[in-house]
Amino acid sequence: MTSVAARPRLRVGVAKFASCDGCQLTLLDLEDELLALAERFEVVEFPEASTLRSAGPYDVLLVEGAISTPDQAAEIVELRHQAKMLVTIGACASYGGIQALRNWSSHDAFRDAVYAHPEYIESLDTATPVSDHVKVDAELHGCPISPEQLREVLVSVAVGRRPQIREEAVCLECKRKGAVCVMVAQGIPCLGPVTQSGCGALCPSFGRGCYGCFGPREQANTSSLARSFVYRGRDGTEVSRLFAGFTGWSLPFREVIRAYGGPPGMTGDVSGPAAAKDHRNGSEPEGMEGVGDARG
């Protein structure tokens, strides 16, 4: 049909670490366009969809999950060498996910409490984002990711332009829909003002506060939002519980959790054992320069 289609198909791989598989399933959720996508992309590695296994190199490698074991830490370095473009998909790969809650606490105590034979378990003290280990070219946020944003990244690679993913608060999606602010009208604490859009303001549209699945947005003023929760009558434990969700290990959220005493129920040093390893500069992770407004 066009010159684009005549190009050789791009090799796409999907890799998975500590995660629930929901994000890679989003690829299958692009049902209407799966056949068209298959004309342009050759999915050579996709354990959730196919038993066919193939080594790299990959033009695009989608990475799901946090790095949680020594094997994973080694494997991601190897995969990075084989990937021209590495895109993390979801809250686990981008921020460590819900399992990063263990970073606040004693890994060994948890392991011994949960497993009958802890001596067989070989895991790291922390669950950390992929970008703590290797260079990441782009991050897709969310728990799970947005099919529309995944499509946009693939299309942009195929067409050869920058992905158009808006950097803005969930509030913009909420107000564009005409939803009434749950925080102002009902006093429900909501992370929407500090959270990256992409979900279509799903929770606030149903009268729930935002859980922050898409992680901190650019210039997220988490400390001001946390103070406003206190003014609205929430105590410190509730405030840190609100931030200690799927993206609680992101730096702007982590700062609030630390300031309000650590995630509820977590023991140990609340300064966080992995804090020293953190090399990310706030809300703008390395490799994000390619993701943003098309006019950039």
Partner: protein
């Protein structure tokens, strides 16, 4: 309904703060007014629908009164009102049948004249050829029901932006042309309203097809256009009688009086543009989330971006215009950087646009005073307070209107009756005074009264509480006159003049931290201020009270102090000079209480009252914490006889303490404060 020849067609706020109504004031179709019985309001909605219009009106959804499509009068918010404050909105039940007894909700008519998402075009590439097909503009015929004066003014402003030329927005033009406006005069106001300052309301003054004013029994109704007159001709109306017209005008007048003039706009354009380098922008950015909620609920904000969605080959792409705002990351970004990367830059862009550069671009303010940005800010930033802080009104402006005192002239007294006597300490007593002139009840925090009983010299006494129909006077026995007054009992009468003098500027503290430092009986003139702060607790950030007394038994209002401390949302710290066996708290001067406290004075306003030496030490300690002299307020005590600046006793420097004080900013009195012999 908008026609080409009279655009822009709604009144809009001029930089001088008065409304400009470009529509001709008198035309044949504006005869009336008429009266529409409450039971016939549904007929109006039916007529509009019969005319093929979708009716957009107020209705309750998700805990708020919002505009949405309605098909029946039953969907209107009968008996429902709203309560609004910075960062807060709630519905209240009026237990009546009124349908417009609320102010403005989160959604404005902008949603229909300038929708959040509008298709622009479809672009195609076929080999080497490209084509762009503009989206068809075919908006629905609408009737916007319940539009308020501020919202009409906002439509007038957007008319100027989109249709004022030289280039125009055809989508907007078509939507405006298709929208009939049924306006409503406001007969109630929210705490966040300031249309009066912006010159836009609460009364609609043109730009409507029909205008309603709600009474208990129905609606006074006027037509503003031939289309409106045609509707009235088809409605079961009769001429409004004189009583109905009077009550309608009275209700709207009361609304205006309730709002007052919270934002003095004289010179605002120049005042604001002189403050590009103000440190206050960074202070706001500590609170601002740059979440853009203020701009989205604003009925005049008109910025947008274009988003595209292309097929997998990039051969077909659809473009949409979506609401976008100066607070988002990409808004001022170019290759290589962002012109406004910091939240403080974005807030400055927004505020200076609304109140200054908009004037240069379009000849009007970009604000209509609807207060939506205050209510719907998740952290309650109050644009009125920020304007007063960043660009304070000019010194040359007329003095703020103070409540007019009763019996101002010496010699005259209004009598009042003591209703309760409460000993506070060994030598201090609080009298609760009833049957007072209403002028006292309208007094401001920090003002005083001249109090007299026959045969004794009159005394200036601070008002230590404003009750619903009483005031408190807290008096220390210092001589025969005070002893005579304290010695009175319930039902005894006294003479009062006042309220007199200046007050604590509580409005300047909105959105800021408050520090109150006081000693001994100095707590008495501050108690109304504390009452006022606590009554609107969420309009202020951290509140800290530091109180020193000679001994524990010299503390005033001991139970209230305990109550304040127990609230948990203010910090109350007490100290004494000499402790007794029962005292376990700190001992020492009051400034020691905050020697080690960790708060930053640059975000605070301080209110200080106590013995002069204590105030001097306090001021020094506050200045170390970066509190500028115009943010520290102190009282001066001098001999007062007349209370109105005519007897000369209380002169100090260029000031009369009774008339120009007793509350002063340190900036006013810095040269004489603490100096002996002045």
């Amino acid at each position: 309904v908008v026609t080409e020849e009279r655009l822009p067609y709604a009144p809009y706020p001029s930089p001088s703060g008065t409304a400009v109504a470009p529509t001709p004031s008198a035309s044949p179709h504006t005869s009336g007014p008429w009266f529409l019985a409450r039971t016939n309001l549904g007929v109006l909605i039916d007529l509009l629908r019969e005319d093929g219009r979708t009716v957009i009106g107020p209705t309750v959804a998700d805990g708020a009164i919002v505009y949405d499509e309605i098909t029946s009068v039953d969907q209107l918010p009968a008996g429902i009102g709203d309560e609004q404050a910075p960062g807060r909105y709630g519905l209240i039940d009026h237990h009546d049948r009124r349908v417009f007894d609320y102010t403005v909700g989160p959604i404005s008519p902008k949603r229909w004249t300038f929708p959040a998402t509008v298709p622009l075009n479809v672009g195609r590439r076929d080999g080497r050829a490209v084509s762009f097909e503009p989206a068809e503009i075919d908006p629905p015929r609408l009737a916007l029901l319940g539009v308020r004066a501020c919202e009409l003014a906002a439509m007038g402003i957007q008319d100027r932006v989109f249709l004022g030329g030289p280039y125009t927005d055809e989508d907007y033009r078509a939507r405006r042309r298709n929208a009939l406006v049924v306006a409503v005069n406001c007969t109630t106001a929210s705490s966040t309203c300031f249309c009066t300052s912006m010159g836009t309301g609460p009364e609609v003054r043109g730009g409507y097809d029909l205008a309603l004013t709600e009474l208990d029994e129905g609606f006074v109704i006027r037509a503003g256009t031939p289309e409106g007159a045609d509707l009235i001709a088809r409605l079961p109306v009769r001429s409004a009688d004189a009583g109905q017209m009077f009550r309608a005008a009275e209700a709207v007048g009361k609304t205006a009086a309730t709002i007052g003039d919270p934002v003095p706009t004289a010179g605002l354009h120049d005042r604001l543009l002189a403050q590009f380098d103000s440190p206050e922008w960074a202070n706001i950015a500590e609170r601002c989330l740059s979440c853009a909620n203020c701009t989205m609920v604003c009925p005049t904000c008109f910025c947008s971006s274009v988003v595209q969605r292309s097929d997998l080959d990039g051969d077909v792409s659809t473009s949409e215009r979506v609401w976008d705002f100066c607070f988002t990351a990409g808004f001022a970004r170019v290759a290589g950087g962002n012109f406004r990367s910091r939240p403080r830059d974005r807030y400055r862009q927004w505020l200076t646009h609304k109140f200054a550069t908009w004037v240069d671009q379009f000849g009007t303010f970009g604000c209509v005073g609807c207060g939506r940005c205050i209510t719907w800010c998740p952290v309650g930033i109050d644009i009125r307070a920020e304007l007063l802080t960043i660009a304070p009104p000019l010194a040359a402006r007329p003095e703020p209107v103070r409540p007019r005192p009763v019996a101002a002239t010496p010699g005259y007294y209004a009598t009042a009756r003591i209703v309760a006597v409460r000993p506070e300490t060994n030598d201090v007593t609080t009298l609760t005074i009833g049957d007072v002139d209403p002028a006292f009840l309208a007094g401001e925090f920090g003002q005083f009264a001249m109090v007299a009983v026959p045969a004794f010299p009159p005394l200036p006494i601070s008002i230590s509480r404003f009750g619903r129909d009483t005031i408190d006077l807290t008096i220390r026995a210092a001589g025969p006159a005070t002893a005579a007054i304290i010695g009175l009992g319930p039902r005894d009468e006294i003479g009062l003049r006042g309220p007199l003098g200046t007050s604590w500027p509580i409005e300047r503290a909105m959105g800021h931290d408050v520090v109150i430092v006081t000693g001994g009986i100095g707590l008495a003139p501050l108690r109304p201020l504390i009452d006022g702060l606590l009554a609107q607790r969420d309009r202020f950030d951290d509140i800290r009270i530091y109180y020193g007394a000679r001994t524990p038994s010299d503390q005033l209002y001991r139970e209230e102090l305990r109550g304040w401390a127990a609230r948990g949302d203010i910090d109350v710290q007490l100290t004494v000079d000499r402790a007794g066996p029962e005292w376990t708290g700190p001992v020492g001067v009051v400034t020691h209480l905050f020697d080690r406290a960790e708060w930053n004075g640059s975000r605070s306003l301080a209110f200080v009252c106590g013995p002069e030496r204590m105030m001097e030490a306090t001021v020094e300690a506050l200045e170390v914490r970066d509190l500028a002299p115009d943010r520290i307020f102190v009282t001066l005590e001098r001999h007062m006889e007349c209370g109105i600046g005519l007897c000369g006793h209380c002169q100090t420097g260029r000031l009369f303490v009774c008339r120009d004080g007793p509350v002063f900013s340190l900036a006013q009195v810095g040269d004489i404060f603490g100096r002996e012999g002045i």
